[in-house]
């Protein structure tokens, strides 16, 4: 147990400098450490997830985003990433597809609400 308590802090120092010892990405700085910890807790992990697990997840997420971006660049309008391409790539995965649809619909509603709110303010 003492080892586990020492190792995470040791690795955190390494991460601040830039790259854990076993960090798959090597020298890249950790982009999502804080947010990923909250996310893992929200999805069912312990309140303090292991740093190594967070690192693995971050690498996975970055690889996922990279793959999706590359695929999106190769379909539809070449060289650009557009929302329609993402929706097309996701079409087979029901969860992600529903989530994207929800998010975009919600964004539209929020934009409309803000616009109406601003116009109301401007009018009065």
């Amino acid at each position: 147990m003492a080892d586990e308590e020492e190792d995470p802090t040791f690795e955190e120092e390494n991460e601040e400098i830039g790259g854990g010892v076993e960090g798959g990405q090597g020298k890249r700085k950790r982009l999502f450490s804080k947010e990923l910890r909250c996310m893992m807790y929200g999805f069912g992990d312990d309140q303090n997830p292991y740093t190594e697990s967070v690192d693995i997840l971050e690498d996975l997420v970055i690889e996922f985003i990279t793959e999706m971006t590359h695929k999106a660049m190769s379909i539809g309008r070449q060289g650009r990433v557009q929302v329609e391409d993402i929706v097309f790539l996701i079409r087979k995965d029901p969860r992600k597809f529903a989530r994207v649809k929800d998010l975009l619909t919600m964004n539209e509603e929020l934009k409309r609400a803000r616009k109406a709110f601003d116009e109301a303010n401007y009018g009065s």
Binding site: L60, M68, T69, R95, F97, L103, M106
Partner: protein, 211 residues
């Protein structure tokens, strides 16, 4: 903690299309989301009440058609068009009803959470990837700028992706008779399983179809 009165979980993928409720990750960061959900709450309800009225007004011309249908006087509309119209109208009403039911059920559920469950639920709703970092990452890959919607979509999908991996890892952990926190071996086994299901995109492996 007004988030408690909001949407069903995203894990129920079947009902995904009928959700009309705000999602916390849309707010920029975790500090300013309190105002936004309340705003949309009023608007969301307002929308729900407005659309039936709008539909009623729009269909005032078709009211005569509908009454004609009731009288079984089918001379005004083709049968297929009639059926479509009634079907979509019923579906929309059903969807709104399902929404309201689900919202109520979620409220009852969340109100009976223990403190630890409430904490976890709050983290689940509020955690999100920082939009700036995601935008920087995508732009570093494409070399061109991307629109805001792309960043929103990509962050949302990534969060669902994290959820899938963590859930699978928790399954693995439980199956191996161990307890959280999750260890790297659970994560790697989870990734291996998801890969065989095809949930993890991998364009590096060249698939040979015929051999």
């Amino acid at each position: 903690m007004d988030n408690a009165c909001e949407s069903p979980t995203d894990k129920g993928g079947e009902t995904g299309e009928s959700n009309e409720t705000p999602a916390a990750p849309l707010g920029s960061g975790t500090t300013s989301t309190d105002g936004i959900p309340e705003e949309t709450d009023g608007d969301g309800d307002g929308d729900l009440k407005e659309t039936p009225v709008e539909e009623g007004e729009l269909k005032s011309q078709d009211i005569s058609d509908l009454t004609a249908i009731e009288r079984e006087d089918s001379s005004l509309l083709t049968p297929a068009a009639k059926k479509l119209k009634i079907d979509t109208k019923e579906k929309k009403e059903k969807k709104q009803k399902v929404d309201e039911d689900e919202i109520q059920k979620m409220q009852i559920l969340v109100s009976s959470f223990s403190e630890e469950q409430l904490n976890r639920y709050e983290m689940y709703r509020r955690s999100a990837f920082p939009k700036a970092a995601i935008k920087r990452l995508i732009q570093s890959i494409t070399g061109t700028s991307v629109s805001q919607n792309v960043v929103i979509a990509m962050s949302g999908i990534s969060k669902v992706f994290v959820g899938e991996v963590v859930e699978e890892a928790l399954d693995v952990c439980e199956k191996w008779g161990e307890t959280p926190p999750l260890q790297p071996k659970h994560m790697r086994e989870a990734v291996r399983r998801l890969k065989s299901k095809g949930q993890i995109p991998n364009s590096k492996h060249k698939k040979i179809i015929f051999f």
